[in-house]
Amino acid sequence: MNIEIQSLIKTYNQRQVLNIKSLSLEKGKIYGIIGPNGAGKSTMLRIIAGLEEAKKGTILYNKKHLNGEIIKNLTYLNQKPYLLRTSVFNNIAYPLKLRKYKKETLKKKVIEIVKEFNIFDLRHQPATNLSGGEAQKVALARALIFEPELLLLDEPTANIDPNSLELIEKKIIKRNREKNTTIIIITHNIGQAKRLCDEIIFIREGEIVEYGKTNQVISNPKCNEMKRFLSVYI
């Protein structure tokens, strides 16, 4: 999914928290959004997901404004995903139930994905009893099962163990390569940004201060804010 953002402004109680003049995101690429806390990264992602409204500006998804069809083709996942009070299986099957999949197809797809995410043995467990890493795997499996064109990830691997982190990163890359899914990921982990992202967007005080190819931005940052940020996190 291609995304065009123009003159996007968001305010909270008359305080401007986001001001994106222009940004184009191409289909099939992985974009990393980095920046200090309170920079407006999550707000931007939530606006793209249609979970918050901007004060001004436009976002076009494949040259169309946000509508029911587009919402069905994107998904958003944050670092504390909400899992339904039911089994792991039912959680992952939920998006397919919303899309009225037949029982057999649904079961087949869920079994495939739980095997892929190494959570097959957990499929009958109540989702609310899972550890942080397991819960995040279930949430990502649930987000990917309906094959969205746009995947929005807000620090999906914060506070999880290295094994789960590695698996989640692999699945993100796999989905991007195999299905040409556009992915936007917020991360504070520069190593993760290097491993996953084609391009990096650095946001500070609601504005994009640096944007470009990952290696170029990280190895040769132009602005001082980015240099300072990298010196702390690397």
Partner: protein
């Protein structure tokens, strides 16, 4: 101490020997409390979700008013309802005073804010997450509503049982609007209050035990549902 044991023995006798008056009082109490809880649930559950999930002006004021209404003094509610439905009141022509209908109205006014308040409190936190997850997984408004009810079923049950508890144990409002008329508007709580004032402690204890048993049964059902034990 003797009258306490007498009360307990009398309670079992009244129940075992199917005392007609006692059973009619029990059934009327349950009927009035269940009806008012049901009406309150139909109003309070959607209203609680609406206030909790929607953004609107004066939401804070509405929330404060709601919390105030949750602790409405029953006698004040009884008094207001009695004034409105009394012969000279605006709804006097309906001739509702000293009828079970008046008692249902008074209890509904007491219970609705409790159910609304509990649902409001839960939905403003958990409800937003549920709404968000449904939207990001491709659900429409109808799907969101169904998911909200499914996910918050325990909160809804707690709200309804709390409301029922308030209704069945309430005495002030039903005494004023019902009048405690034998065979017509006498309920368990007004029966206990009346017998206590007449010095019939054992009869009061007997009915009090019945009230406790009903409370125990409803809470046991809730506990079983919530914990699965």
């Amino acid at each position: 101490m003797g009258y306490i044991f007498d009360g307990i023995i009398k309670a079992f006798k009244l129940l075992i020997f199917f005392d007609k008056e006692v059973y009619s009082i029990i059934f009327l109490s349950i009927f009035i409390s269940l009806t008012s809880t049901l009406i309150s649930s139909f109003i309070g559950i959607p209203l609680g979700f609406l206030i909790g999930l929607k953004k609107f002006r004066f939401k804070r004021i509405v929330a404060r008013l709601l919390y105030t209404f949750m602790s409405l003094p029953p006698v004040v509610v009884g008094l207001v309802v009695a004034i409105i439905i009394s012969r000279r009141g605006p709804l006097g022509h309906l001739r509702l005073l000293f009828t079970p209908a008046a008692m249902i109205i008074a209890q509904t006014l007491l219970v609705t804010p409790i159910i609304t308040g509990i649902i409001f409190n839960n939905s403003k936190e958990q409800g937003h997450q549920i709404k968000q997850i449904c939207k990001t997984l491709g659900g429409n408004r109808w799907d969101t509503l169904i998911l909200l009810i499914k996910e918050m079923r325990i909160n809804i049950l707690i709200a309804v049982v709390t409301g029922f508890g308030r209704a069945i144990s309430e005495v002030g409002a039903v005494m004023i609007v019902g009048g405690n008329i034998k065979g017509h508007t006498r309920v368990m709580t007004s029966f206990i209050a009346m017998n206590h004032s007449m010095g019939n402690y054992s009869t009061s204890i007997a009915m009090g035990l019945v009230l406790l048993i009903i409370s125990f049964i409803t809470n046991s059902i809730l506990y079983k549902y919530v914990t699965g034990d």
